[in-house]
Amino acid sequence: MESLNIFIRSIFIDNMVFAFFFGMCSYIAVSKSVKTALGLGLAVTFVMTMTVPLNYLLNEYLLSKGALAWTKIDALKDVDLSFLSFIVFIAVIASFTQLVEMAVEKFSPTLYNQLGIFLPLIAVNCAIMGGSLFMQQKVEAEQITSLWQSIVYGFGSGLGWWLAIVMMAAIREKTTYSHIPEALKGPGIAFIITGLMGIAFMIFSGIKL
């Protein structure tokens, strides 16, 4: 049950876009058509499902305080390397994105061409780095206690981001034909729509899990 709660919470209540504004850069830039939004969302979800558990393992067995106890070396017992976590997390994410890019290029050139420049840019998508950093916080707060839960959390957060960008793209496709003040067209109205969607998403925060 605990994992189901984490799953639902990460999609709806702690939605990456509407509650924390993570991944806004690509969210605003890529949400012009539903098709590309679907592709990017898929890639982000996949990378997040993989990197959050990887970073969880690194956090458990390398970075956090006392994590090196498994080496059975006395001098390493109390070492706290958590100040290195930014650089380790981003290295994992960047190298994983590089791997995904090479794999997609090799096995599915059509998808590779569809995603184009957005694939390498996943490395600097704040949602992914944010997912790992929140995972680290939740481990400290003992809300995530196992590898399985970290997988569920990564997958759920990715799905939440996917949902948000596809919804946004669908709305923006419609607004192309609306009469919006000239100065508000493009990013201006996109921000305001996101804000209103965020207010709508706040109803989920009433759910007790």
């Binding site: 100040f83 960047a94 590089q98 600097v124 704040c126 100065a183 508000l184």
Partner: protein
Amino acid sequence: MSSVKNLKYLTGPLNANNPVIVQILGICSALAVTVKLKPAIVMGLSVMVVTAFANLVMSLLRKGIPSRIRIIVQLVVIAALVILVDQFLKAYVYDVSKQLSVYVGLIITNCIIMGRVEAFALGNKPWASFLDGIGNGLGYASILVTVAFFRELFGSGQLLGFQIIPESWYAADGGFYYNNGLMLFPPMALILVGCIIWIHRSYNKDLQEK
């Protein structure tokens, strides 16, 4: 080197080429820290320092890095700088650093920094790149401070923690005034930025989308 050109690197990003409201970069970490003015100022300064020094370092290294691995090199340089900033904040302004929580780490993935390194520092001299970094950091900070000003003033009636709206106005003391609680919620930051973009583009007609 003409100083006019250097000045343009500094002032351009403040208005016509603002990284947040014109290029739509770096919004990710920008909006969640704007509930109060103080964390917004600290965040703006941190991003400015990181952008400036990341630009400087990458500009110095630009001839020695093969382009295939440049993204990973950039990330390592930026991450190292952010770790320094994070440790500095923890040491000197611990309460703000607690409020900013994961958003300090998210400076690494702030699109402004990567964007400036990619677009400017890889093709320009170190000093110009450094100024460009400062300018863009200031542009980012100016938006953050504007949004935070309105959110803190209307959301909690304070600025930098000092009471601005007189206590006697409040309904609790027999007055007529209520704080606007909506200002404290995250979606309001987005709507405020949307309005800033609206005003800005009404004055800069060439930025409007056709």
